[in-house]
Symmetry: none
Subunit: 228 residues, 4 copies
């Protein structure tokens, strides 16, 4: 991929991957503003640390309007978060990763593409995903939604793909599928979290190179010549 192609592709995916809300909806302008404000503030201060009055102010609506539409503060949270979970785990989103893996390229490049793809997906929706990650620790409903959607819709699809790749000799056969899948996800999220906690440390290196290294570690491991 040339430098230019790369950038075009990145932009395209970023657009396409907005886990948005407003596709099928009759939501008013005010409702959209409320949701946008809520995402921003929940992400910044956490659910409990945010106040509905602040959200209302940022959205430019009366506080009562929030409650007319979402009944409770928690209702607003769920309205934000459950559709996002559903979308991340939707076949449509999952399939886009599969498609990349089915392209006619060296496996190594396909792995890089998939990682980048997921990293972009997460970055595009970083606020929402931050909310999901944090609040799922405190709200069992969210945990359940994640389990239901991810475990029952993402995992089976990916598991099958992994087994196929194992059969093709692209992935090792001596480790169970869930370990392989977990390894990819761990490395991707670990990378993103590191960037968040130590922002200046990673600012200098190119994202493309970082992803390339992640793929390298994933495929070949960290072991040196001595271990052979």
């Amino acid at each position: 991929m040339t430098e230019k192609d790369w950038e075009k592709w990145v932009r395209m995916i970023a657009d396409e991957y907005d886990l948005d809300l407003g596709k099928t909806n009759k939501e008013t302008l005010k409702q959209k503003k409320i949701l946008e404000a809520a995402i921003h503030i929940f992400a910044e201060k956490g659910f409990s640390g945010s106040s509905t009055s602040e959200i209302a102010e940022r959205a430019g609506v009366a506080e009562a309007t929030i409650f007319k539409h979402y009944r409770t503060k928690k209702g607003l949270l769920l309205r934000l978060v459950i559709p996002a979970i559903a979308k991340v785990a939707s076949p449509w989103i999952t399939r886009s990763a599969l498609k990349i893996l089915e392209q006619d390229k060296p496996f190594r490049e396909r792995v890089e593409d998939v990682i980048l793809d997921r990293v972009l997906l997460i970055e595009t929706n970083w606020k929402k995903i931050k909310i999901i990650l944090v609040e799922s620790l405190f709200h069992p409903e969210l945990r359940e939604a994640i389990q239901t959607h991810v475990a029952k819709s993402v995992f089976p699809v990916m598991s099958e793909k992994i087994k196929q790749l194992q059969a093709e000799g692209e992935l090792r056969r001596d480790l169970p599928d869930y370990v392989l899948l977990r390894s990819v996800i761990s490395m991707a999220i670990g990378y993103l979290l590191a960037r968040n906690v130590f922002p200046e440390q990673l600012a200098q290196s190119e994202e493309k190179d970082e992803i390339s290294m992640i793929a390298e570690v994933l495929l070949k491991g960290v072991g040196g010549s001595h271990g052979d």
Copy 2:
């Protein structure tokens, strides 16, 4: 390591690794109860979601007592969290990982031991670490404390060790130290989070085996024969 040795060792480390507070303990019984209650409730509901009255009730003290000792709610959080960060990042704790790496064993076994060691460290202090991870997203002071301690006290030590292992041929030399370190940590935390979100899925497999597989992936990667 025999089965028996393993268990003994696990118990020993678990004891030793309690990031506890009460070492320099001038702390009264009531203070200990307050800290214990706060850890429990902060971990369960998050800092903002917890109320001092609930903490007081669980600790069996009057609400005012909390403020006598810690001045503010946030003071209580910091009193819990800063020493824990300091301790995790303390030379003493870091060095214990180094010691394991310096033992006279095959590298592969040493890696397994280190991972298990860190996993146990995290498990032993899971509530506190959960608080640290979550609240560091919302309180810059905490982020700074982590950066200061980890980046300036853990990273240099580990970095040096990694370079030494690269020189010895145990680790690859074509990747920067921080990538290697991040890879280990990502895999460990990814494993623990997965256990948290999908508890029943991992309940069946032995922790020892899981860690063995993590080490395997780390050292050799997930790539199959085809990639060679």
Copy 3:
């Protein structure tokens, strides 16, 4: 009166005595539903304890519809209550009591008939009368409406009748008319309230017998032979 006559008569009066609204009915179906819902909810929770949203929900209309028709919540209350007061106190309703007293029967039977007649009138409209009684304690307008209608339209008529009965020797002449009237009303309402607060205690006895006893006490008093 035979058992059969009695039952027929009771049914007839109950129909006839519905203090209803919908006589001059230009009222739409929705308006009727609103009024019905309001009566139910005001009686159940009191005026202040009821919310327009609950009334709207029960009536199956939008909240705004209530305000289109009755301008304010209090307007709705008054629309319910003032016509009911007017009707209870209307010459038509008052006269029906007089008519009973003018029938050609022993006085004792006529008294029983009148008490039963009023008890039925109250029972038929129990919800509305509950609202009137309770809310008149808190809304001076209602108190005034009652005073105006009852004192100026019921009392004079009844007073005259009482004086006539005193002249005829059916009622004692040594007590003022208002004491006699109050006594009848007190006994009737006392009976109904007792039935409300201690429902199971009075469930067993026949209403006809209870009224007969009330008439007996009213006419002859509770004093025993010793007092003569």
Copy 4:
């Protein structure tokens, strides 16, 4: 009883009959002020129509103070009302009526004394009793408290006394005890309510005379000579 004795007695009873709260209690000054304010405002506007902020203001305390002591608004209501119910129905209060009936006087005078005694009891605690009467229509707990206390502690005692008076020939034997008891209570409460709804009408007559007439009606009935 001379005019002077009468007044002295009235004053004495009024003091003695305060259904008060603060006998056994460590209630703070502020708590007493809250209770007093609540009684006033609940009586004036009804429970639902009163706001805690208004109560706080009248009591001269912060709103939060109310909730520290009574947890909820309803808790405050119950704290006011349940002890009052218990006290009205206490053996001590009931027995004072019995004592009057056992005095060595003509029965007629004893009846007048008892009625006056109860009327004073109710007047002294009119606000609380108004609250009890009104709110018991909307809060089942209150209804239950009344049933429990009155039905199980007042009624049996009075019932026995009534039977004794029937045996002595002071009260008629051909009517059940509950009818006789209800008659007395109906007449007393009817008198008080009438005074409330038509205040100016009764302002002119002396209370002593009114009660004398109530006793007369109760004992001899309203029937005239013709009915004999």
